[in-house]
């Protein structure tokens, strides 16, 4: 059984959720509150710094990372709505500040508090999810960084498995990258396009009417490609899907 859930957590929304998928943030907060956990959303948060980091601009990444550190002063878990941002904050922050005497220890303590959303719900929340929806199929996409750094494939599946009426279907080449990769999609558009074309083909082939992910970068890429192809299917954040299934108001 999961440990007793904390009374309060911080929610880190991520910049993409903030601008493109804000309802996912509200649904996540609702879900956490439904489980008796108060989710505090600091208004000073912005972005984890990953875009600069993965582009090689380390000073800029450090500057943005330090700004986030100031937003979460209490010693509560920091629940992150994207696995790859979680990976950045949990695994790459300590490397970014290695050898920086002024910040190293502080960053390490911060990183230890970071937990990805599905991981938190599955492993830290002791609630049963009473699934009120009709039986339906869903396909799960996890971002590469997230599945490798944060284990979101297993926690995402475990979360969906808690919904009695939901059947998880597998896509071909599930572990393969969707081709987003931040600036990669811009610098190498044709390779990225070939990757997302294969990914959308595999997702469509499953025949599931629902696509969920805990990573909005991938969703932006996959949804954009699906829409361009004239498909009705649009992926949503797993928090929104779960919240809807248990009868929560949008």
């Amino acid at each position: 059984m999961p440990a007793t859930p904390p009374a309060k957590v911080y929610l880190f929304g991520t910049c993409l959720v903030d601008v493109f998928f804000p309802q996912a943030g509200i649904d996540a907060i609702s879900l956490l509150e439904h489980a008796g956990v108060e989710a505090v959303f600091p208004q000073a948060q912005s972005c984890c710094g990953q875009p600069a980091y993965s582009s090689g601009y380390m000073d800029e990444a450090r500057r943005v990372a330090l700004a986030q550190l100031d937003c979460f002063p209490e010693d509560w878990p920091i629940v992150v709505l994207s696995g790859s941002c979680g990976g950045m904050m949990a695994h790459h922050y300590p490397k970014l500040f290695a050898g920086d005497a002024a910040n190293e220890a502080r960053v390490r303590r911060f990183s230890e508090r970071v937990i990805e959303f599905t991981d938190f719900v599955v492993n830290r929340l002791g609630i049963a999810l009473a699934d009120l929806g009709q039986p339906e199929k869903v396909v799960l996409h996890t971002s590469c960084a997230a599945r490798r750094e944060m284990g979101t494939l297993t926690t995402g599946r475990a979360l969906l498995a808690r919904l009695a009426g939901v059947e998880l279907v597998e896509q071909d080449h599930e572990s393969e990258c969707c081709g987003f990769g931040g600036t990669f999609a811009v610098r190498h558009p044709t390779i990225s396009a070939a990757m997302v074309a294969d990914k959308t083909r595999a997702i469509k082939a499953c025949g599931a009417p629902n696509l969920v992910s805990a990573d909005c970068g991938c969703l932006m890429n996959i949804n954009g490609a699906l829409q361009k192809q004239g498909e009705r299917l649009q992926g949503e954040h797993i928090a929104s899907f779960v919240w809807r299934r248990i009868g929560g108001e949008a």
């Binding site: 601008v19 943030g25 600069a52 090689g56 601009y57 990258c177 081709g179 990669f184 829409q227």
Partner: protein
């Protein structure tokens, strides 16, 4: 020392080669099929996850230990090879290495060479170099032979002709080998190749090979192969020349077994290969076969640059299994030739900048989605994605900034782009500024451009939601209080 020459970096540009590969359906089909097959094979022989991880950690440890004392081990290797009768030569550049081969050929009056598979000789463009000097050098590995016959370069470090299907090889053999009829029967095709090569093994004056592991403790050269051509090349001709990068040294003979196990299983899904040759010197008095002389050429060609940097040194842990290519979604889409370098795929992206400089390889570090598949499968746990990020950092670091760890530093440096990232960091680290800009983006959502560069060639432009999460949270709190 001469500046590293981008020997293999031929026009057109990386982007043009990529577009060409992406639009070649037959090529993409060949790679997708081959890589799926190789991934499944590897999975089937690493069926015990705990054993795999333990073996990877051991492999990493062995390689890191060897690299930590590389200069000493190279000296030890040289001394023990010399004791065994192997003549050791040092080459800093590919030109020097080629000249050494040429000298040996001249001294022994050789006109024909036969070569086992060796990526370092590809690095040297040895065939070309010798051909220009009137010496024939024939590839004897079946894949390399096919590629040489087609006038191409290998597209994979383990399976050089993996980009071709059997129909393409059938057409090639029919058109290039006298008296051969078109057939897609694989056994017949292989027999055709063997018949050509048999004669060449017999006639060749010198056999060239690569080295998989060079054992410092015993002065032994280990050669992993499946076709027997490596054994033929190193025993039939009267002279054997082995060429290797300086990083291939291991400390002890016992180090070879786990590395060999990792290598063959990662590369082709084989528990063992047909042959593992351990070469410890020329033919001794009374022995029936083997060459009269064995030479070992130790090539640097930029490797000491990687060695000098604590983080980049991990690049040299590589045992050339090609698993990172087999699992790379980018390699699978574009194939090996698009990279324009001898070593393609993820390992190519991190080693080529040392061999050729970042100027000549400026597009490679960014050509990865950093998905991490390469690092996950690497049998010696090279943190390839981290090294890619590091090389991106070196690419955009101002050319004059210290420390100057990689030749061609700043190849992608642009003052304008740097200013943009500074502006971005300012925006992201000033909460009020950030909120104002995202608020504005939400308000302008219907006026934003429908086309954003190449993104919208394949996707609809993402549209900001009417209100940001910051706003929704604020409104929600206000409603409740």
């Amino acid at each position: 020392m001469n500046a590293p020459q981008p020997l293999h970096f031929v026009p057109p540009s990386f982007r043009e080669r990529v577009d060409e590969a992406i639009n070649d359906d037959e090529l993409r089909g060949n790679f997708r099929g081959a890589m799926d097959f190789l991934m499944a094979k590897r999975r089937s022989v690493f069926d015990d996850e705990a054993e795999l991880q333990a073996l990877r950690r051991l492999g990493e440890h062995i390689r890191r230990r060897a690299l930590s004392k590389l200069p000493d081990l190279l000296e030890q290797l040289e001394a023990n090879c010399a004791r065994n009768g192997i003549q050791v030569h040092w080459a800093e550049t590919v030109d020097e290495a080629n000249a050494i081969v040429h000298d040996i050929a001249m001294q022994s009056g050789a006109r024909q060479l036969v070569k086992g598979k060796s990526m370092v000789s590809e690095e040297m463009e040895l065939n070309h170099y010798l051909e220009a000097r009137g010496i024939e050098c024939l590839e004897s590995d079946m894949g390399e032979y096919i590629v040489q016959l087609a006038g191409e370069k290998p597209s994979h470090i383990i399976m050089p002709a993996i980009h071709k299907n059997k129909a393409q090889i059938a057409r090639l053999f029919e058109s290039r080998i006298a008296g051969v009829d078109y057939t897609e029967d694989v056994d017949t095709l292989i027999q055709v190749g063997r018949n050509v090569l048999r004669r060449k093994f017999y006639e060749a004056d010198i056999g060239i090979s690569g080295v998989n592991f060079a054992v410092a403790e015993t002065g032994t050269l280990c050669l992993v192969e499946n076709e027997g051509n490596g054994r033929m090349s190193t025993t039939v001709p009267r002279v054997h020349i082995a060429v290797t990068g300086i990083e291939k040294v291991v400390e002890k003979l016992v180090d070879v077994a786990p590395l060999y196990s990792l290598l063959t299983r990662s590369a082709t899904g084989q528990i063992v290969t047909t042959y593992l040759n351990l070469i410890s010197g020329p033919r001794k008095p009374g022995e029936l076969d083997g060459p009269a002389a064995v030479h070992l050429i130790l090539l640097d060609n930029g490797r000491s640059q990687a060695f000098a940097d604590e983080q980049l040194r991990a690049t040299l842990q590589c045992i050339r299994c090609g698993a990172c290519m087999n699992h790379c979604p980018v390699y699978t889409r574009i194939g090996g030739h698009a990279y324009g370098t001898v070593y393609p795929g993820p390992i190519g992206k991190i080693i080529s900048p040392h061999l050729l400089g970042l100027d000549a390889t400026r597009d490679l570090p960014s050509a990865s989605s950093l998905c991490g598949a390469c690092g996950e499968v690497c049998p010696v746990r090279i943190p390839i994605p981290e090294l890619l990020v590091r090389l991106r950092e070196e690419s955009v670091r101002p050319p004059e900034a210290e420390p100057h760890a990689v030749a061609g530093q700043g190849a992608r440096y642009s003052p304008g782009e740097t200013r943009l990232w500074r502006l971005w960091a300012l925006l992201m680290s000033r909460p009020a500024l950030y909120r104002a800009s995202t608020w504005l983006a939400a308000r302008l959502r219907n006026w934003l451009p429908a086309r954003i560069g190449p993104w919208t060639d394949y996707r609809i432009a993402p549209k900001p939601a009417p209100k940001t999460l910051h706003e929704l949270v604020k409104a929600r709190a206000a409603k409740r209080s």
